[in-house]
């Protein structure tokens, strides 16, 4: 009878049952899905995988960029001359403003000092090349060719020659992911240039932006330009973001629906500038004294109640 206890010899080696394996893998993938979405603590894991995937992806993108390069090379001389003369013309037309900019800036600085207002921060950054757009169809992101090696950190704003493009959301060793302002999860605090009204602009996911939480009678017109307000402590104030194209005022709702299009060439390929992070904002003032006192009073009352009991 002792022989009955022995397991049969492993003639046919079989791993765990498929259903058990399936349960295991599904549990793991759901777990990392939730953790990546909510806790965002898998960045190092993602970076280490990206270290392998990133070079391969760049190689796969080379045929396209080679074609672009060849097309650029073969572009007619005449076209380039035309572009050159246009640029010279544009430079000349902006020259009067630009030449006085240095003087204006120093004057502004002096006046601010006289008013004892904090000095304006100067914008600086580094130019990065857009490598490709991320394949994920549920979001709007591009990958640029500078990463941790160039000192880029998550949260830095990205602009192009016309306005704000987006914000760096993930950083890999040699590349970084920029979420465009048209992404559904992206929001930027803005200011209407004409009226100075502050609000927040949200991406809609279809290439447009929406200015939310503006009352139905708000002073916003079609054609108004929105610039960053800088209240977030991330974007410097004054960068153009979007232009209002359509306003739906319905008295049934307390808010107007205001649609805007981005000013920057958000969906175009090319170069962008990743701005250096801003110096931290001054700390929040301590909470109002009155509220604190009330709390203190309540606590005292409770203590008294406890004593009487």
């Amino acid at each position: 009878m002792a022989g009955m206890d022995h397991a049969p010899p492993p003639f046919f080696k079989r791993g765990p049952a498929p259903l058990a394996l399936l349960t295991f893998y599904i549990a793991v993938s759901l777990a990392i899905f939730v953790v990546d979405l909510r806790v965002k603590s898998l960045d190092l894991f993602r970076q280490s995988i990206a270290l392998v995937v990133d070079p391969v992806q760049r190689i796969a993108q080379t045929p396209g960029s080679l074609v672009d390069y060849a097309a650029g090379y073969l572009r007619g001389l005449k076209e380039l001359q035309q572009e050159n003369s246009d640029l010279k013309h544009a430079q000349l037309s902006t020259a009067p403003n630009l030449q006085r900019l240095a003087q204006l800036e120093s004057e502004n600085e002096r006046l601010r000092k006289l008013l004892s207002v904090k000095e304006r921060e100067k914008a600086s950054g580094q130019v990065a090349q857009i490598l490709y757009t991320a394949r994920d169809p549920f979001s709007r992101k591009v990958i640029v060719d500078k990463g941790q090696q160039a000192g880029i950190t998550a949260g830095q704003p990205a602009i192009d020659e016309a306005g704000v493009v987006g914000q760096v959301t993930r950083v890999f060793p040699f590349s970084a992911e920029v979420t465009l302002i048209t992404d559904k999860s992206q929001a930027i605090p803005v200011q209407v240039v004409r009226s100075g009204q502050r609000s927040v602009v949200f991406g809609l996911g279809n290439g447009q932006l929406e200015l939310r939480y503006m009352p139905a009678n708000a002073d916003v017109q079609v054609g108004d330009v929105l610039v960053t307000s800088g209240l977030d402590g991330i974007f410097l104030p004054g960068f153009p973001v979007a232009k209002v194209v359509n306003i739906e005022r319905d008295s049934a709702y307390s808010f107007a629906r205001i649609f805007c299009t981005p000013l920057a060439g958000v969906e175009n390929f090319g170069e962008l500038m990743v701005l250096d992070p801003r110096s931290p904002l001054p700390e929040r003032p301590p909470e109002a004294a009155g509220r604190g006192e009330i709390k203190e009073g309540q606590r005292v009352k409770k203590k008294r109640a406890a004593k009487t009991n």
């Binding site: 498929p18 893998y25 990392i32 953790v35 993602r46 993108q61 394949r135 994920d136």
Partner: protein
């Protein structure tokens, strides 16, 4: 009438490096700039489905999980999105494989369509559930194109396993 088993030719055993190579090439095809064109199939899902049906002892859920992780990172998607869909695809494909291979190729393709479409729908549901925006119906055209590619894909991926036409009578296999 018995269904005709068109692949009655005896195939040579598959070489593991060829499976590996084909999966890498599929991933490369996904990384190409053409991936943004409407109706481009998810090559990794297609090749993974093929091998899980043909060689479920070699390509299984482990491979599906690793490829899913790679695609998640490469796409900039949420980690686990492709993993979940690919693992489920590999499991269903391998459990269907004994039945599926009895059908002619066109009918195989018809049965593969719900698998590939399900992979895509599952990913869309996962992302929509956590607040992503709808990617448009073009996202679901990819599996239809992939279904059309099933017959040529089978031909290409089985090429190294076909036997030469002139056979040595002394060595039948």
């Amino acid at each position: 009438m018995q269904p005709t088993f068109t692949s009655s030719r005896i195939l040579l055993p598959v070489r593991p490096w060829f499976i590996f190579l084909s999966l890498i090439v599929a991933a490369l095809l996904n990384f190409l700039p053409t991936a943004h064109w409407p109706g481009m199939p998810d090559w990794v899902a297609l090749v993974l489905c093929f091998w899980s049906i043909r060689e479920f002892r070699r390509v299984g859920m482990g491979w599906a999980f690793i490829l899913g992780l790679l695609m998640d990172v490469a796409d900039g998607a949420v980690l686990g999105q492709h993993c979940f869909a690919y693992v489920l695809l590999a499991y269903i494909a391998s459990s269907l494989s004994r039945r599926l291979l009895w059908f002619p190729l066109a009918q195989q393709a018809l049965q593969v369509l719900p698998l590939l479409l399900g992979t895509q729908v599952l990913q869309a549901l996962m992302r929509l559930a956590v607040g992503a925006d709808f990617p448009g119906w073009g996202y679901f055209v990819g599996p239809l194109v992939a279904t059309l590619l099933w017959i040529p894909l089978t031909f290409v991926l089985l090429l190294p396993q076909y036997q030469p036409v002139e056979q040595d009578p002394n060595r039948p296999i």
